[in-house]
């Protein structure tokens, strides 16, 4: 897979590039800001663009805006946004424009080569990736009264979280050391309890679940 990296800090740009090479990706180019990134994407047509959320000139959410623009101009390019903050609102904003090939991960998460490889590969394949801490915030958020979420079993909540992170049934099964069939059973229960329309499409169900979690 061909990957490009945009981060204004050279230290992190280079570090990330080395990790990506170690993980077996081809690093097609590095950019220091959004404009360089666009030029790079135009030239290299990468599978995935990894973008720091805070970039020049204003150092606020340029990465987020850049991700949106890439989504519009090069819809086939997967986008993995890296952040130093756990911001559910930013993640939701990203996903709202389409969950295919979109990821939001904390920066320190990708210091683990395996996590990085999995994240980039899933985004490259067109799946979505949400940082576990963001999902934890969404699932663990206190809810008033008799919330449907409170009726889920511990195991079902685990499955729900993994699903919200963007993982496939197969991946969830592997994680929890159960069969895919068991995962499917859990999912049926979860969707029933939350009164969500059952969905087998891995991509769409992420947004549905995340939006549900955010609205409750």
């Amino acid at each position: 897979m061909r990957v490009v990296v945009a981060d204004d800090a050279a230290l992190l740009r280079e570090g990330l590039a080395r990790l990506l090479v170690e993980a077996g990706f081809e690093v097609a180019g590095l950019a220091a800001d959004a404009e360089e990134l666009f030029a790079l994407v135009e030239r290299c047509q990468p599978d995935v663009a990894i973008v720091d959320i805070r970039m020049p000139p204003s150092f606020t959410d340029e990465g987020l805006q850049a991700a949106k623009e890439i989504r519009v101009r090069w819809p086939d390019v997967g986008i993995l946004v890296l952040s130093q903050h756990v911001r559910a609102s930013y993640a939701l904003e990203l996903l709202s424009d389409g969950t295919d090939g979109i990821g939001y991960l904390l920066k320190e998460r990708v210091s683990d080569v395996e996590e990085l490889r999995a994240g980039v590969e899933r985004v490259g394949k067109g799946d979505s990736v949400l940082d576990p801490l963001v999902v934890e915030q969404l699932v663990g958020r206190p809810r008033r009264g008799n919330a449907p979420l409170d009726h889920l079993t511990e195991r079902e909540r685990e499955v729900l979280a993994l699903m919200a992170e963007g993982r496939s049934n197969k991946a969830i099964a592997e994680r929890l050391f159960v069969t895919e069939h068991t995962v499917e059973k859990h999912l049926k229960n979860i969707f029933g309890t939350l009164r969500l329309p059952p969905s087998t499409d891995d991509h769409r169900r992420v947004l549905a679940v995340v939006t549900y979690l955010d609205s409750q």
Partner: protein, 566 residues
């Protein structure tokens, strides 16, 4: 009023007697005489102390007296002969002594004394030797003053009188010119009507005497025109007197108004009324910074000279206390401005002290706000430094460790150690993230208050509903203060209130940000609040806002913060 009636009676008498024997007297003659006498009497009524009134009455009577020359009756004719040119002396006095009614200098006294001697003394002396039938006219009545006929002395005295008269009149004109040259702009405006009409009359009189026009019967048109001009002089004097009198009335009204202890006075309005300038503004001297401030303590710049507005500085004991910023027209009524300032002096000084207090308060407020802002800027800087420096470096170290971990064979002895180190670093990064968000939440800078409050709600340990309606970004310090107050209130509610639910509201109401944190807890939160809340109160008050806590026992707690945004 009695004086006025008496005066009118005398005029009527003289008028009758004059008109009786002869029809020659023209309307202009009547106008002139009455103008002086009437104005003089009114002037005496307004200002009994001012001699100008008497001088004008004298001039008027002297004028009527000179008309008696045309009488066929010997005693009347003689009186007319004596007073023939006396009115010129009276007139000179009126013009030179205006507006005070006093002769200010030796030169003035000499000129006016000379005028009296020449116009009345020499005239009287000449009449002692004058046979009217020989020198003046054959049909004239007898000169009752004639002691002995001596044509030479009589003619010589008349000649001397003419020459001296021209000298005296020219000297009076010179005095007026000097007065004009020395007068300030305001003074010129006051004396202009009298001085110019009077001066023109005197110039004309000088020519008339020199050309012996006065010996001829009133005939030439220029003379008639001149009579109108002369008639205007006493009216001009009276007008000046009345204007000052009205001003004095305004000042008296002001004194009464300011002296009333039961009704608080809007000083600016009172002064504007007294000065007749609704656009009047007041600026108070602020000695600590040697500048002017308005009633609220805000800075005021005095207008430049020659601008569309003028400033008059009010002093007390040699120190400026205030400045009136007014319409330039008031400049020409400096006497009124001065008296108004004098009358309002004490009140102005009081108001100045209040304005000074407000200015000091405003300064204190500004310095508090600056302190808060400086603190805020510093916190933002620390957060940015943490993000761009320490956090990035630590992330970079974590990446290096991750790389090392990946390159190590799984069974390497150090592999667990490296993994452990990376995990510990991840925890440290999480802690650092919490710390830096506590110092300054970056989302506030990035997205503004609504997003920051939304983030706060998501992370709260209680179900929290958010209702924010802000249509624009607010000033940074307002957003920051509001955020930290809400954040502190949420933390307090979670810790102490035993609440099950929270509501956070924020909206703009007429330029003021109103934010509320409401819980359904046990209430009874102490009015003083924790030290955290005290700090928040300071912060809010530094921005001119307020913070209130309502916490009736058993009925939840509502914290409300209001911060002006303009």
């Amino acid at each position: 009023m009695a004086g006025l009636a008496a005066g009118l009676g005398v005029i009527w008498l003289i008028g009758n007697k004059t008109a009786g024997p002869d029809e020659l007297s023209s309307p202009q003659d009547w106008l002139l005489g009455w103008s002086f006498i009437g104005s003089g009497l009114v002037a005496l009524h307004i200002r009994p102390q001012n001699r100008l009134g008497w001088a004008m009455v004298f001039t008027g009577f002297a004028w009527f007296g000179s008309i008696l020359l045309v009488a066929h009756d010997a005693p009347l004719f003689t009186v007319g002969a004596v007073l023939q040119v006396a009115y010129i002396a009276g007139f000179a006095y009126v013009v030179v002594a205006f507006p005070s009614g006093r002769l200010q200098s030796t030169a003035e006294r000499l000129v006016i004394g000379g005028a009296l001697v020449v116009a009345v003394g020499v005239q009287f002396a000449a009449l002692l030797f004058t046979d009217t039938h020989a020198i003046w006219c054959t049909e004239c009545p007898d000169n009752l003053l004639e002691v002995t006929r001596n044509d030479t002395i009589a003619l010589d005295l008349r000649e001397f009188q003419r020459g001296a008269g021209v000298v005296v009149i020219v000297a009076a004109i010179a005095l007026l010119a000097l007065r004009w040259w020395r007068a300030s702009g305001a003074m010129r405006r006051t004396i202009a009507p009298v001085l110019w009409t009077g001066g023109a009359t005197l110039v004309f009189a000088a020519f008339a005497v020199a050309n012996e026009v006065l010996y001829k019967p009133l005939g030439p048109e220029p003379l008639r025109l001149m009579l109108f001009v002369i008639s205007a002089v006493p009216v001009a004097i009276l007008f000046a007197f009345l204007q000052r009198r009205m001003a004095r009335g305004a000042v008296a009204g002001l004194v009464v108004e300011l002296g009333d202890p039961t009704a608080p006075v809007d000083l600016r309005q009172a002064l504007a009324r007294a000065l007749g300038d609704p656009s009047l503004e007041l600026a108070y001297w602020y000695p600590a910074e040697s500048r002017y401030v308005d009633g609220q303590g805000g800075p005021v710049a005095l207008p430049e000279a020659d601008g569309p507005r003028l400033a008059t500085v009010v002093e007390r004991n040699g120190q400026p206390i205030a400045a009136l910023i007014h319409d330039p027209a008031l400049q020409h009524n400096s006497e009124l401005v001065d008296s108004v300032c004098a009358a309002a002096g004490l009140t102005l000084e009081n108001e100045r002290l209040q304005a000074e207090l407000r200015a000091r308060l405003a300064e204190l407020q500004a310095s508090r706000a600056r302190l808060v802002e400086a603190t805020e800027t510093e916190r933002r800087r620390i957060e940015r430094d943490l993000h761009d420096g320490t956090q990035q470096r630590l992330v970079s170290v974590a990446m290096s460790l991750g790389l090392a971990e990946s390159k190590l064979p799984a069974d390497a002895e150090v592999a667990p150690l490296v993994h452990e180190a990376r995990e510990a670093l991840t925890v440290a990064l999480a802690e650092l993230r919490e710390l830096s968000q506590g110092i300054h939440p970056s989302i506030l800078t990035e997205r503004g208050l609504p997003a920051a409050l939304d983030d706060l709600c998501r992370r709260a340990a209680l179900p929290a509903s958010l209702d924010v309606s802000l249509d624009r970004r607010l000033p940074t310090q307002v957003e920051t203060a509001a955020y930290f107050v809400v954040s502190e209130a949420v933390a307090n509610a979670i810790k102490h209130s035993h609440a099950t639910e929270l509501w956070i509201r924020a909206s703009i109401r007429s330029g003021v940000l109103v934010a509320e944190v409401v819980d359904d807890g046990i209430g009874g939160a102490g009015g003083g609040g924790g030290t955290g809340l005290r700090g928040m109160t300071d912060r809010v008050e530094a921005l001119g806002g307020s913070l209130t806590v309502s916490s009736p026992p058993g009925r939840g707690t509502t914290l409300r913060v209001e911060i002006p945004c303009e």
